[in-house]
Amino acid sequence: MYAFEIERPTELSAAVAALKDEGAQALGGGQTLIPSLKQRLAMPEKLVSLSAIDEIKGVTREGDALVVGGGATHGEIAAAAEEAGFRGLAMMARQIGDPAVRNRGTMGGSLANNDPSACYPSMALATGATIVTDRREIAAADFFQGLFATALEEGEIIVRIRIPVPAASSYQKFAQPASRFPLVGVFVARTGEGARVAVTGAGEDGVFRWSEAEEALSAGWSAEAVAGLSHPSEGLISDLHGTPAYRAHLIGVMTRRGVADAA
C-alpha cells in the first residue's frame, strides 16, 4: 500500500466535504478496496471512512420497498431481507464471500465498485432499484455503465438503495471455486412491471438483462417457459475459468433454477 491518511467522520456532510479534497476516496467496508490497495492498484492520498456515519447504515421497510443503507453490511442485509420475505436478496447477501467479509462489506461499496462479477448489480437491475446519493437519485438502469464504471460523480456517496420488493425472486450463483465470486449469477424477479432476469459475471460490459427470457416469463412464470431458450455467447466473458459458450449455457441453467425456486 502507498501511504495515505484516514479520516473517519461521523456526519454525512463532513464526509462529502472531505471527499472534495484532491486524491480523496471513500472507504466502505474495505473488502474490495483494501485488497486492491495492497496490490498497489490504487493510490489515494486520503481515505474517508464511512464506517462511523450512522445515517447511511441500517435496513428499513418503507411500504413496498426495502431501503438499504449504503453502509449496511452484507450480513445485516441478509438478515433484514430474510425478515422482509425478500428471498432473492437474502439468498444473495448470505452467499457473498464469507461471514467475516459479510460483517464489513457494504452494498454501497459493491454497487459503487460495479465489478462485472459482483452480485448486487443483478439484483438492483432486476428489481428496478433506485440508488440515492448525497446529491440525487439514480435509477439502476442508468447507474451501471460498463466494467467498474457507474454514473457516480467524483466524491459522490451512495447513501441508500431503495429496492421495490418483488412478488417473487431468487438468486442463483454458480461460484468460481477459488474466489467464490459468481462465474455466472442470475437474479430472477416477478415484479409489477413483469418478469425480470438480470445476469452478472458473464457480460463483457458487466451486468445485463436477458430480455428474451423476460418476455417468455412475463407471458407465464414457469421453468418450462424458459426451457427452450438459450442465451447467445456473443459479448460474454472469455477467461481462464470459462468460455463464452460455457457461460451462455450456465445462464440458461441458472435462470431455470431461479424460476423454479421462485415459483
Binding site: 500500500m1 471512512s49 450480513g75 464471500g97 464469507d98 467475516a100 460483517n103
Partner: protein
C-alpha cells in the same frame, strides 16, 4: 503519527499508526500479539480472523484506525485467564482439528463466532460458515467435527480411536 486506542482482550491499548496500518499489523507488530496470522494478501484465507465488537472480521482487511474505540478479541483472549481452553479450543485438540497450527487461530475465532450466533449448527452450516478459513493440512473433516463437538452435539469419534 496518529494514535489509535482500542480495548484488546479486555485491556485498553493504544499506539502509533500510519493511515495504511492494518489492524493485523497493529496487533502483531504494535502489541506483539502474534497469534493472529497472515496467510494471504487477497483477503481469502482467514488466518487473521479476530472479533471486533463481537463480530468476526479479517484483521488484514480493516485499518487499525477503524478500530478506534472498538472492543477487539484475538486468539490470545479466548482461553480462560488460568489457561483453561475454551470449548472450541478443547474440541479442536480432542478431535485433531489442527496440524501445523497456522490456520488454527483464525479457525478458532470463526468457529467461536459461529457458535455465538448459532449454538447448535448443522454440519452444513459449519462448513458454510468456515468457507473463508482455509486450512492446507487437515482436509477440514476434523475441524468440522471439532466444531460440532464444541456445540455439544454427537460426533463420530476420530479415526484413530
Amino acid at each position: 503519527m496518529p494514535q489509535v486506542s482500542m480495548k484488546v482482550n479486555g485491556t485498553e491499548r493504544s499506539g502509533e499508526i500510519e493511515g495504511r496500518t492494518l489492524l493485523v499489523e497493529f496487533l502483531r507488530e504494535g502489541l506483539k500479539l502474534t497469534g493472529t496470522h497472515v496467510g494471504c494478501d487477497t483477503s481469502q484465507c482467514g488466518a487473521c480472523v479476530v472479533h471486533v465488537n463481537g463480530k468476526a472480521v479479517k484483521a488484514c482487511t480493516m485499518f487499525a484506525a477503524e478500530a478506534e474505540g472498538a472492543e477487539v478479541t484475538t486468539i490470545e483472549g479466548i482461553a480462560g485467564k488460568d489457561g483453561t481452553l475454551s470449548a472450541v479450543q478443547q474440541a479442536f485438540r480432542d478431535y485433531h482439528g489442527l496440524q501445523c497450527g497456522f490456520c488454527t487461530p483464525g479457525m478458532v475465532m470463526s468457529a467461536t463466532a459461529l457458535l455465538e450466533e448459532n449454538p447448535k449448527p448443522t454440519e452444513s452450516e459449519v462448513r458454510h460458515y468456515l468457507e473463508g478459513n482455509l486450512c492446507r493440512c487437515t482436509g477440514y473433516q476434523n475441524i468440522v467435527k471439532a466444531v460440532m463437538a464444541a456445540s455439544g452435539q454427537e460426533v463420530a469419534p476420530v479415526a484413530a480411536e
